[in-house]
Amino acid sequence: MNKKILMKGNEALAEAAIRAGCRYYFGYPITPQNEVPAYMSKRLPEVNGVFVQAESELASINMIFGAGACGARCMTSSSSPGISLMQEGISYISGAETPAVIVNMMRGGPGLGNIAPSQGDYFQAVKGGGHGDYKIIVFAPASAQEIVNFTVLAFDLTIKYRIPVMILGDGLLGQMTEPVVLPEMKEIQDDINWSICRGQDQVIIRSLYLVPENQLELHNLHLQKKYRSIEKDLNKYYEQYNANDCDYLIFAYGTTARVCKAAIDRLQKENIKIGLFRPISLWPFPKEEIISISSKIKKAFVFEMAQAQFEEDIRLSFEGKKEIKGFYKLGGAIFNDDEIYELIKKNI
């Protein structure tokens, strides 16, 4: 059994990636995730890995595309403005079906915004961001330990499904120091018989389909079929906190959900029956579970550090059947538990 050690979220992520078999990291500096490339640049050479500081996020994501085309466990990390630059590459990687783990430690936007924690990239992560009909798996951890666990899972899933997997955190999660238990170093034996550089018959990694005319349509149908099966497979990543037998339910993810828990504890002491539902995978979205829980409550609250982005998916699951009240923090501002406590009191 590995023992608990104290680590910063970003460093825990980097070490977890290495233990999950990641040997190739390409990235470009941006706050608040600079600990990831710094850690990788030191640690990867120790395990015969490769660290390259790319000339831009455009280059990073395409280096990942090249490494992924070889079937390698590879990763890049960035924060909001850098992730925007990667959208082109993410679309290509999705079309070409190569593995890639992408970390976004979100910061305030739009534009250069600020370097404070935010959840403003929800739509970009979950609904697309690049061109075309594609999906990426998105995990939103809420602690350093979850960062570790889901980073490890991200590598297994990106290899299994050949789909980009994003770890969607924020500045706070990345910077926060917490105890974590790290997994053992993984022995990798990936089945990558679709990849290039194996000395076999020609392998083409492509996203262009011109002829015959319906070839791109068929490719898209194939992708959608894969997405449906991923939705089926990954429907268990959520947390419920005091969510049984509730009148009121808060929906929140990541950092915001942590703060909500403290408020819930206080409210419960006052015999208010309130709980938390926290999706961890944002795509696939735990829609079925939310639908079923929605029938049991009187009213829902949504807290997020963005303007009703996450809330939109909650509303889609609720289908207008119950009242939903959303509260938002914008531009890098974060909720505190007093504030959440007051807001709930005022609105029940």
Binding site: A54, C70, A96, R206
Partner: protein, 250 residues
Amino acid sequence: MITGKILYKRPKTLKDVNMSYCPGCSHSLMNKILCEIIDEFDIQKKTVVIAPVGCAVLLYDYIDCDSVEAAHGRAPAIATGIKRVNPDNIVISYQGDGDLLSIGMAETIHTANRGENITVVFMNNAVYGMTGGQMAPTTLVGQITKTTPSGRNPENEGYPIRACELINTLEAPYFIARCKVTNSKSIMQTKKILKKAIGYQINKKGYSFIEILSNCPTNWGMKPKDSNKWIQEVMSKYYPVKIFRDKGEA
């Protein structure tokens, strides 16, 4: 059935299909030359060709090697990723002028600057071929294109960029040369140079940049023969054909 000793035949790595390039296009020729070199080194199974956005986007339909199709301008970054994972494979980044010098300028320069052990084949045809003949970074002053209807005017569009000269300011590159393929003699010379570059990659010497002054008969509105003459008489005046650097000979 004709028998006898074969003096020249189509290279094995070039698939037995019709290349969709226009008649007389340098892309066809360079696809063929690349395949000849791949055959001669016997590296078909370990070569990866990056197909760029541009007329050569379907490269992998002709060249029978592993291939990754890049987004516009990103071929050298993809090549970097592949080479870092598989240093023993031969990676060729094949790019047009819009791809390499416009949208992909940063990737071009930084891949060269890192001295990645890859071979860049730069097809400079002074226009955007695939999109119908717009101005490229290498369009000559005064040259008429779809987006410079009165000829490229440096006041408005700046001057054509000389890629080899630019790359030659960097420390890392191992081999830099500009070639032309306007007749059998220059084709043979170009093949020798490109073969040397790929040989350097095989021997892990580092980054090579081979520019090919190419034609685009279709968008230049010329017969293939006249387009080659134009390269000879006009283009190569601004873009001198020479070896800029060869660390292997130094």
